[in-house]
Symmetry: C2
Subunit: 216 residues, 2 copies
């Protein structure tokens, strides 16, 4: 039979995976809102971030409470500290999805993304979906090979990010400064989103193996 | 006589303040490197970030070690957890100074900052110096009134950030898209730097009072 500590930790782990799904949904909807200039969807993502924040506070409180009551040592202690850090990463990823939705809202009824960049941003949204799904899977399964795949997705995000800049700086760019500012910020938000997903996966792998994955 | 736990915690606190000075120096030099297109200074900030990261790892290890060995409860436990979070904030602030230095390096021998924006960026650098100095002071003194002042500096940073965008979007902007991208990213780095300083101060105040400061 499991003891109370491990039951509580398992429960928090399950809800962390739920939180990762909440963040995945926010990012997916933020990308759609951005590409389609969908103001209702943008508003939804912006207001739903309060739910992500509530989940953050709830899980953070409970993890601290377990830490205070159970006085874990060794691996158990490392697990709780890692959990606290992952909760913070996911909360920040929710913020980044919200930032993207805010750009969508600011430019409505236009899309902040000019036609020639729609496919790149769509691809960045797809990669964002992959990295958060894999971060959730790594939390659930502690599988290091998924963490290594996630690093490759992050490389793909960096490639897309460079492509974004190349388009902004090409002679064909005819949209001027304001959309360039939007795209620069949007690109940064997607990139940071993937960075945090990598961070989540690395934390789990480090917890399980005591070492960073080989590919990192 | 203090016990071992509080001695260790005090020692970590002192080194946290040292770390905040290291980050302050990095940000100050990054701003000079950026404004003066000083490649040597930019390279120095970029390579010195490794020292900030080493300090991060050292303090993080030691705080975790204290947590594992001393099994603190109540306020002591909250202090250690808060310390872990502040260490992470300061590490990230070091990264942001490094990012600014990298923009300076990328545009050398030009300055990434056009003449009409030099004073705004200089002001952002000044405010960045204020917020990190105050964050260090709040860590050292746990003084809530300094934390409230820091919030006002953060408001000043937001005002400068908006001024930056206003210049980029004005009819007088004659530098095109590439410098606008640089300035957008630089502005974001300064803004995030101040956000993390606010976060440090809020964490300390919350630790001391159990409540967020009135002005927050």
């Amino acid at each position: 039979m499991r003891d109370t500590f491990h039951d509580e930790l398992d429960q928090i782990g399950t809800e962390l995976v739920d939180m990762s799904r909440m963040v995945a949904s926010a990012m997916s909807r933020a990308t759609s809102a951005l590409l389609d200039a969908d103001i209702a969807l943008a508003e939804e993502v912006i207001s739903d971030d309060e739910r992500v924040d509530e989940t953050y506070r709830d899980l953070d409180d409970r993890a601290l409470d377990v830490l205070a009551r159970q006085q874990p040592v060794a691996t158990d202690l490392r697990t709780i500290v890692t959990t606290l850090r992952i909760i913070a990463d996911l909360e920040r990823m929710g913020d980044l999805a919200q930032h993207i939705a805010k750009v969508a809202r600011m430019r409505y009824p236009q899309s902040a993304v000019p036609p020639e960049l729609q496919s790149t941003i769509r691809d960045m949204g797809t990669v964002a979906g992959k990295v958060i799904a894999k971060a959730g899977a790594v939390i659930a399964t502690q599988d290091a090979s998924t963490a290594i795949e996630l690093e490759k997705d992050d490389d793909a995000m960096d490639t897309l990010h460079r492509k974004l800049f190349a388009t902004l700086l090409s002679d064909e760019w005819a949209h001027g400064v304001e959309p360039a500012i939007d795209i620069t910020l949007i690109g940064r938000y997607y990139e940071r989103f993937a960075d945090h997903a990598v961070s989540v996966a690395r934390r789990v792998v480090y917890l399980v193996t005591g070492e960073m994955p080989v590919a990192l």
